[in-house]
């Protein structure tokens, strides 16, 4: 799919090529790319993980493919999934169960459920009951950020997890392999960081939906291939010389777990918003900066989590104001406003929304808020809301 109509000119084929590859991965609900990887690697194993963050380095170092699971993305009809959840529970566990019960996750050998909310936490227990033949683990992450307390605990959790993963794959635990994996993921995070910088400085060059697809591809691709894809996209987008529009620069916040439909992201731009920062697929950018590649690799991953995790709703903010990191992100990315987009029934995002709104109000930063679900099919209302928001920024904003 191209963005010709919206960009006002024919998109260069190099961009088309990269985006088409990423978009094919986005639509790959059957995980055929994972099957191809397994076939090419002598049947090596693959481990799925839910948002927001798991240390993929551990899976990789154990000789397996980390596979990011981000729900059905509106591409799966929910039939069985709805039988497992009440009407007031968000969409992502329904589609995740649906995908598993319909066999699309059968090629995954293990599943990791990181700490994010009570629903995903309980989903880990459901998995243990429904899929007893699979390796299933809930990964608790510390909410205490003292290296000697939370860091020590997280280190012990990671050691235990790595031992489990090695037992699953049959690989012997190896610090050397772990350090090599960390280095590869550092490369990946650096490439993504360059893409984020480009998006913040030249959002017209990298439409938000394309950036999202480039990030999403990291859920399925081996890390080296994903790094190459991101680099190729940056190069192609820079060369494309897309026209600059008079759009409002916005931060999109609240979409860290259940993902908005691709069409919704596109709708925001069509409505006149350049997304210059967001928290979609946040795990791709976690932790911030490099992880140390010398010394004890597990300790290095724990240290990075404790000291350089991005601020997000699932993480306790021990100091200052919960709204402050969002305000800082707005300032850093030179945004003119914030779109608070949270999935319906998402406790972490919705509970803190009044705090974020209050912080933005105090800074006289304009915001608008709406809810979505991953299978949302109507975007006109959001287009009108986002369009009005963008217009109001352009006409009256003091920011």
């Amino acid at each position: 799919m191209t963005n010709e109509a919206e960009s006002g000119g024919a998109a260069p084929s190099a961009v088309d090529e990269v985006v088409a590859r990423a978009e094919a991965l986005y639509h790959d609900v059957e995980l055929s790319s994972v099957q191809r990887w397994r076939d090419a690697h002598g049947g090596a194993k693959a481990v799925g993980y839910m948002p927001i963050y798991v240390p993929r380095e551990l899976i990789h170092a154990a000789g397996m493919l980390p596979v990011g699971l981000m729900g059905g993305r509106g591409q799966v009809e929910i039939i069985r999934g709805d039988a497992w959840f009440q009407s007031y529970i968000c969409q992502i566990p329904r589609s995740t169960i649906e995908l598993a019960l319909t066999g699309r996750y059968a090629l995954l050998d293990g599943f990791l459920f990181p700490s994010i909310c009570d629903v995903i936490r309980n989903l880990s227990g459901m998995w243990k009951v429904l899929f007893p033949e699979k390796y299933v683990r809930y990964l608790d992450v510390p909410q205490n950020y003292d290296p000697d307390v939370g860091g020590r605990f997280f280190g012990s959790e990671l050691r235990s997890l790595y031992a489990d993963l090695c037992a699953l794959s049959g690989e012997a635990p190896s610090d050397e392999r772990l350090r090599a994996s960390i280095a590869l993921y550092n490369d990946n995070r650096r490439s993504i960081g360059r893409l984020m910088e480009l998006r913040a400085t030249e959002p017209w060059s990298v439409p938000a939906w394309e950036v999202y697809l480039a990030l999403y591809a990291g859920n399925l691709l081996p890390v080296e291939e994903h790094t190459a894809l991101v680099d190729a996209y940056i190069a192609a987008a820079r060369a494309a010389s897309r026209p600059r529009r008079d759009n409002a620069r916005v931060v999109l916040s609240g979409a860290f777990c259940e993902q908005p439909p691709l069409e919704l992201i596109r709708t925001l731009e069509l409505a006149g918003c350049y997304v210059v920062a967001d928290d979609m697929a946040l795990g791709r950018r976690w932790p911030e900066g490099d992880i140390e590649v010398t010394g004890d690799p597990i300790a290095a991953i724990a240290e990075a989590f404790i000291t350089r995790s991005p601020a997000t709703a699932a993480r306790y903010e021990p100091h200052g104001d919960r709204g402050a990191p969002l305000v800082q992100l707005v300032r850093k990315s030179h945004a003119e406003g914030v779109v608070l987009a949270a999935p319906s029934f998402c406790d972490p995002a919705l509970l803190e929304q009044p705090i974020l709104q209050d912080s933005l109000d105090k800074e006289r930063l304009p915001w608008t808020a709406f809810k979505y679900s991953e299978n949302l099919g109507q975007f006109q209302v959001i287009r009108e809301q986002a369009g009005t928001f963008a217009d109001s920024i352009k006409l009256w904003s003091e920011a």
Binding site: V129, Y138, N144, R152, Y316, R322, L351, P354
Partner: protein, 451 residues
């Protein structure tokens, strides 16, 4: 049902004692600032009341205030106020009720203004929402927050590493925060004494809850149970008053057993126990007595419930250990019901069905609490399959009156009880129709959701 005189006389003893304890606590809270006492807001699951007692500070439990507001029919207006201020209709109504109460003057259950907190003690056990709740309160009050993160038992175990993590937080976060607040060093002997008293009360509570294994059950372990857990889940665990309360309660229950009496209800005692149920999930508070009556009027007695384990699971043998004060607090926190993974919860409920000889498992799924509710439909199916008893499913909310549809709920409960009755008749017919040497195995039941 018993006569009104019997019902009235039943309010003597433990009930009156508890009422006096609660009134005394709120009275102490009202005087707290004048008397220079420090006030700590904290949560029920994973509360560390004995430690607070050791520092002589007064706890306030926002969930308790919310449920009291629900019972006093005030929660609807408080929730509306919070939603008017921007809180989503999708999120926990305990939180919104608390915020609404705060914005409406912060008048507590006794009608007196609650003191502001000097410390927010965020014991993060079994419920993610707690974290966001105190992030919200943190903006309202000029006081510090002490965070204690209790790891979830995702694999069904509380490992030594998890325990060490919680103990380390107690040592480096919680105790220093309380020492800074009060200007006193932790008196470990005082803490151990409180823990020893907790242990005594816990023995009596377990005896009371397990009395429901008898026929007829002398207690209702859900609607009556929420009163029995009140002191030990909140401000009184570790006090002499709690020891006295549970000793009195146990004696009363023993006497009911001796006399062969059924449970007390607001309308008198249940004289004919017709159905024995296990209930999973918290109760509805806005229509609590009406809800209870839907069961008691049908002769349905709840013999075991998971909600009475939300502030501590004691019937698995856990007792606070005064010899290991911080470690035992960590283990207590980790063992609270919603901190247990789903397989453990399924095991526990299946055990209750068997040991309490229940006729069914009924789930009251509350909209507000994903910690309880996410996965309950799987729990229902699994317990049915393992025990062979029918499961039922109803939906209400904690304190949002908009989610209590009385006619609809009553209809579902009656249908569910009829289903139990039908199963009994079928079993009786089969037993008379043939005399097989070995009973055929029960087939695993399909999911039967009463909607």
């Amino acid at each position: 049902m018993s006569t009104p005189q019997e019902a009235a006389s039943a309010k003597d003893g433990s009930m009156i004692k508890q009422k006096e304890m609660i009134a005394g606590h709120f009275s102490a809270l009202t005087r707290a600032k004048a008397e220079g006492k420090k006030v700590v807001y904290t949560f029920v699951p994973g509360n560390i009341t004995e430690l607070l007692l050791a520092f002589d500070v007064l706890p306030v439990y926002p969930e308790i205030n919310a449920l009291q507001s629900g019972m006093r029919k005030k929660s609807g207006a408080y929730i509306a106020e919070a939603e008017r201020l921007g809180h989503s209709e999708d999120v926990c109504t305990y939180v919104k009720c608390d915020i609404g109460m705060l914005k409406s003057g912060n008048f507590g259950p006794t009608g007196e203004k609650l003191p502001e907190p000097d410390l927010l003690l965020l014991s993060y056990t079994g419920c993610f929402t707690f974290m966001k709740w105190f992030e919200l309160l943190k903006r309202e009050y000029d006081c510090p927050v002490a965070m204690m993160h209790v790891p979830y038992q995702g694999d069904g175990v509380f490992t030594p590493e998890m325990r060490d993590y919680v103990v380390a937080q107690l040592r480096t976060e919680v105790v220093p925060a309380l020492e800074a607040l009060t200007g006193k060093k932790l008196d470990e002997a005082k803490l151990s004494e409180a823990l020893a008293r907790s242990r005594v009360a816990e023995d009596d509570l377990v005896a009371v809850l397990e009395s429901a294994k008898r026929r007829p059950s002398p207690i209702d372990a859900y609607f009556g149970g929420v009163y029995y857990i009140g002191p030990i889940f909140t401000s009184f665990r570790g006090t002499e008053a709690a020891v006295d309360y549970y000793r009195t309660l146990r004696a009363e229950v023993d006497e009911r057993v001796r006399l062969g009496l059924g449970p007390l209800t607001p309308d008198g005692a249940i004289t004919h126990e017709k159905y024995r149920l296990v209930i999973e999930g918290p109760p509805n508070w806005t229509n609590f007595q009406e809800f209870w009556k839907m069961f008691s009027s049908e002769g349905a007695v709840v013999v075991a419930s998971s909600y009475t384990k939300v502030g501590g699971v004691y019937d698995n043998g856990f007792r606070h250990d005064p010899e290991r004060p911080l470690e035992t607090l960590a283990e207590y926190c980790a063992g609270c019901y919603t901190n247990l993974n789903l397989p453990t919860r399924i095991d526990m409920l299946s055990r209750y069905v068997r040991e309490y000889e229940a006729d069914g498992l009924l789930i009251n799924s509350v909209k507000s609490c994903n910690s309880f509710s996410a996965g309950q439909l799987l729990i229902l199916r699994e317990v049915e399959a393992r025990t062979g008893v029918p499961g039922g499913f109803i939906e209400t909310d904690l304190v949002d009156p908009r989610y209590f549809s009385a006619a609809n709920i009553k209809n579902r409960i009656e249908s569910y009880l009829q289903m139990i009755e039908q199963k009994r008749r079928n079993a009786s017919t089969r037993a008379h129709a043939a005399t097989p040497t070995v009973a055929p195995p029960r087939p695993a039941k399909k999911l039967e959701v009463l909607r």
